[in-house]
Subunit: 227 residues, 2 copies
DNA sequence: GGAACAAAGAAAATCGAAATCATCCAGCCA
DNA sequence: TGGCTGGATGATTTCGATTTTCTTTGTTCC
């Protein structure tokens, strides 16, 4: 049983959720956490049994994951988990620095009180979650980073950032969670970003954010090189 | 019968192409050209009849188009063509300037002779195509712009640029093709970009490219405001 | 008269089976 | 011996039908 990342809250909790959505989220979790390994073939029959549903929702969910770059569609030859590479890891790092800088600047420029308060809240929850409660910690971590950008008025840019965040998470799981964060003072990096954002200091906030990503990137690179 | 944009050449021309891919390309053309109007509901039964195929390929193609931001999936209530707005048009313009600058810089930095030659070829074909042969002109126009970026070593960035290009095209069709290009000397703008790129003048090339987009953007904005 | 409710109709989502396609291996020919 | 053709097998893709869900309309009750 893979760990779940519990994402994308439904607007109406008791609304009937489609099988496609359930399968989509289940498969995404399994791919991000590495339970489904990079490069692994995704046979529809096996997934049917694994998830207890028919072929149609499976294929639709796989199609959705294709454009998230988490699944490759091999025309007429099925699906597979997208492979990973050091090159792609560096590419994601570069793009996150570039795009999240833009998004954060725009977010701070359009900031209001509600944004500021939800950001503080997200940070508080992050600090209060032990790192070893991986699913909850990861959920709060993503919420914090996305809250930083949330006031940005560019939905497409936000979608790109969200996608890149998810792509990056795979590499964090691949490198192994244990010891990864403990070795650095990540909490103070988060706090520095938070304070700069709350102070509306665009330059400092984007600098701290990029430094945060670069440090994590160097750390993960070293670990990934050993795989 | 909508105009076709004839995209995405198959690697093997006589390979059996899946119904899903056919439907995907057909629907994408119809959405980009405006044959399927923004906001219009996409009933699977109607599309089945229109494209002469079953529900599964239709739904899969619609799922793929969802992540291209050309189709909205309304959970349990079907699909619709993504709506358009002036705000989104400006957002796309902003993002294209930012992302294509990055991609073009990287492309020129990694440029080799093969890239340069395919770029010259793409430009030549563009200049030799009359503007009123819309499908061919549009295909060559996209090929030229993508050729500029083609040496960029960041596939994800290229995918984002490609997606934004397609999103933008919708607005060009919406504003109406006739008179749009004739009113400006677009050909010389393309030539300026080409020469700067061939000269490996990164600064000039990105400047010209951004100016090209901004001028087109202003022109289209004026026309879209009248709709 | 208005609102809540219920039933009928339409549409979407899903399932199970049939058709299509790729792969693999044996047999054959050069 | 090496390469090619041709069928058998397993997987993918697709279709037709069923089930579930949403929407609309008509009704009843305040």
């Amino acid at each position: 049983m893979p760990i779940t990342l519990s994402s994308d809250a439904q607007s109406d909790p008791n609304a009937p959720v489609s099988a496609t959505r359930r399968v989509y989220e289940a498969l995404r979790d399994r791919i991000l956490t590495g339970y489904l390994a990079p490069g692994q073939r995704l046979k529809v029959d096996l997934l049917k049994e694994m998830l207890g549903t028919g072929a149609s929702p499976i294929r639709e969910a796989l199609s959705l994951l294709t454009s998230d770059q988490l699944v490759d569609r091999l025309d007429q030859r099925g699906f597979r988990v997208s492979p990973v590479s050091v090159g792609q890891f560096n590419e994601i790092l570069m793009l996150r620095c570039a795009l999240e800088s833009m998004a954060l600047s725009q977010s701070i420029a359009a900031a209001d009180q509600a944004w500021e308060e939800s950001l503080v809240l997200a940070h508080h929850r992050l600090t209060r979650t032990p790192r070893d409660d991986v699913p909850v910690f990861e959920a709060h971590h993503k919420t914090f980073h996305m809250s930083l950008l949330a006031a940005c008025v560019s939905p497409i840019l936000l979608k790109f950032c969200d996608q890149l965040y998810d792509l990056n998470i795979r590499y964090r799981y691949l490198a192994g969670q244990s010891g990864g964060y403990a070795a650095r003072d990540v909490a103070s990096e988060h706090a520095a970003i938070l304070h700069a954002a709350v102070d509306r200091d665009t330059q400092k906030a984007t600098d701290e954010l990029i430094q945060h990503y670069r440090r994590t990137g160097e750390f993960l690179s070293a670990r990934l090189a050993r795989l």
